[in-house]
């Protein structure tokens, strides 16, 4: 132990939470997840969204989508099922109505892109390419809640690679591919999208689940099945981020049951460079802002100079 400080330690402190993913600098690695943060504006009554590194928009399709009939959500132990069916305003409304208001905030906007066909994805990306203020695209190839939906792309390495490659050709911004835990061959899909040019991956999307009302004998969701999210899925998500991190060199963004800084740090240790916070935003609209504060406190108390120092730092022995 020495009391003398080296010259580097005397330098003004850099922001310990800053991370860089596919060439984009995020002031912190906290990005609310697509579908749980609306278009960002809905959270302004609660906190200044400039506090966040960025956020992912609700999945955007070429045309507005009506979504599934209710009931669309059901709470389960430690989590919830949803089958919203990607109800959204459509990419043009997003660009015309939401984006101009969002430009006032110092946060990176990741547009989540959804389609039923390859052409749909490319149409959304083409529209967004011309819009100012979007940092990156996240390809939703893994939503479990739409019939003949994007999930078919995410479950098959070859299809996932095709949509990634086509999106990369069209996109003027980095492309993040959101991976599905429902794919039989997760690592195969991960490798395939990396080879196809993905700039990063985010994982995991929700896990397909089901809940049945014991009195009516009917599924608790009108869609019958839905995507499970919340604390219940966190250990599965940490494991999948860890496994994918062993085989990919592009950055990983961890998602799944994250509510607190402690949760997020597990994902960093498993190999994620950033995290997305989803279901927790519902129970506590300030959860994402608190997560940023919690990470700052962790770096301070644990003497972590940069949050990236703990990325992939899990010790197996």
């Amino acid at each position: 132990m020495t009391f003398a400080q080296s010259p580097t330690e005397l330098q003004p402190p850099t922001n310990p939470l800053e991370v860089e993913i596919c060439g984009i600098r995020f002031k912190n690695p906290v990005l609310p997840a697509s579908g749980t943060f609306g278009y960002g504006l809905e959270f302004l009554p609660f906190f200044d969204i400039s506090h966040l590194g960025g956020f992912c928009t609700k999945g955007l399709s070429p045309k507005p989508l009506k979504g599934n009939p209710p009931p669309r959500i059901a709470e389960t132990a430690g989590g919830m099922l949803n089958a919203i069916g990607l109800q959204n305003v459509g990419v043009r409304n997003f660009i015309e109505e939401k984006l101009p208001k969002l430009r006032a905030y110092d946060t990176k906007i990741i547009a989540n892109v959804f389609g039923y066909s390859l052409d749909d994805y490319l149409e959304v990306i083409t529209a967004l390419n011309d819009a100012e203020g979007v940092a990156a695209y996240e390809l939703n190839v893994s939503c479990p809640n739409v019939k003949q939906g994007g999930t078919q792309f995410g479950n098959d390495p070859k299809l996932a690679a095709e949509v990634t490659e086509a999106a990369k050709k069209k996109a003027t911004r980095p492309v993040i591919v959101k991976l599905s835990p429902n794919a039989g061959d997760l690592l195969g899909v991960a490798r395939a999208v990396e080879s196809a040019g993905a700039d990063a991956v985010s994982l995991i999307n929700t896990i397909v689940g089901m809940s049945i009302d014991i009195y009516s004998h009917r599924p608790r969701l009108a869609f019958a099945t839905g995507g499970l999210s919340g604390p219940a899925i966190k250990p599965i998500a940490v494991r999948m981020v860890y496994e994918v991190s062993q085989v990919l060199s592009i950055p990983r963004i961890g998602i799944g049951g994250i509510a607190t800084a402690q949760d997020a740090i597990e994902f960093f240790l498993a190999g994620a460079t950033a995290v997305q916070i989803g279901t927790a935003n519902y129970a506590d609209p300030c959860a994402a802002a608190k997560l940023v504060d919690g990470l700052e406190a962790y770096c301070r108390t644990q003497k972590v100079a940069r949050i990236t120092d703990v990325v992939g730092a899990v010790k197996l022995k």
């Binding site: 809905e42 009506k66 209710p70 669309r72 959500i73 709470e75 989590g79 519902y282 129970a283 300030c286």
Partner: protein
């Protein structure tokens, strides 16, 4: 909308219902009739989500604002709230949603006809209070399975509402559904119905509100319903709590519907906007 923590003043259980009073110290909380809150025990993580409850009463006090909620103990979330005792804290997003539109009943010599079933009565009390304060005649058709389910009966009566009761088991008021005395009342006052005297406001089980909507459509009485749907957030982002509404003909002239969020575009809708299924 405020993200508040309230202190429990009272939390009384009666039958399957709880009546909880929260004090928000040094806070002025303004709630319009029909608005709701999203509640959970302070910082609780399980059950995961808050529970939506209509604000029953609002009382400014020297210490802050007191809000009362009436809830039915149905599952883990409401059971967790029911177990709380005075002095404990509750996280509360409030006020949420759109309120009842009072304007149609404030013109001329009109009468507000409230149709409440079970815990749905809680959503209508602030409306009755507001209308009575403006000297509007308020008539309440209050129904429940049994006498214990006639929520807020004494409170409505104390406001000077004219009250008609119905219970499924006949233990209080007429036996049967509350929509039957409503129908009889409208039939017995056909000329007033034609003159546009009545505006109906309803909150309760969906089959009851559907029947109210049918009766009012047939009688051409303006009617509003406050819906209940499972909610994750309460402020518009989860898009879980939707109701199907008519949205005019498509370009091809076909009738079209859309899903509107109960928490933002509702919970109060005009009955003729809703697809009742």
């Amino acid at each position: 909308m405020l993200d508040l923590t309230g202190r429990i003043e009272r939390n009384q259980l009666f039958g399957h219902y709880g009546r909880i009073c929260l004090l928000f110290p040094d806070r002025q909380v303004v709630v319009a009739p029909g608005q709701f809150g999203m509640l959970r025990p302070n910082q609780s993580v399980e059950p995961l989500l808050r529970r939506a409850m209509a604000v029953y009463t609002v009382k400014p006090t020297p210490a802050g604002t007191e809000l009362e909620f009436i809830y039915q103990v149905l599952g883990r979330g409401t059971a967790a709230i029911q177990r709380l005792v005075p002095g404990q804290l509750v996280d509360c997003l409030v006020p949420l949603g759109k309120s009842y539109d009072e304007s149609p009943v404030l013109v001329g010599d009109r009468e507000a006809v409230l149709v409440a079933g079970g815990v749905g009565a809680a959503s209508l009390y602030l409306l009755a209070e507001s209308l009575r304060r403006q000297s509007v005649s308020v008539r309440l058709f209050l129904g429940g399975r049994s006498a214990i389910d006639l929520i807020g009966l004494e409170d409505f009566a104390a406001l000077g509402c004219k009250v008609h009761l119905a219970t499924n088991d006949g233990s209080r008021g007429v036996a049967g559904f509350v929509t039957e005395p409503l129908l009889r009342y409208l039939v017995d006052h056909t000329s007033e119905v034609h003159a546009g005297k009545f505006v109906v406001y309803t909150c309760g089980p969906t089959p009851m509100m559907k029947r109210v909507a049918e009766i009012c459509e047939e009688a051409r009485v303006l009617a509003y319903a406050s819906l209940e749907e499972r909610m994750a957030c309460g402020f518009g982002v989860c898009v879980g709590c939707v109701a199907e509404v008519h949205c005019g003909p498509s370009e091809a002239g076909e009738p079209e519907t859309d899903f509107h969020r109960v928490c933002i575009e509702g919970p109060v809708f005009r009955c003729d906007q809703l697809v009742w299924g």
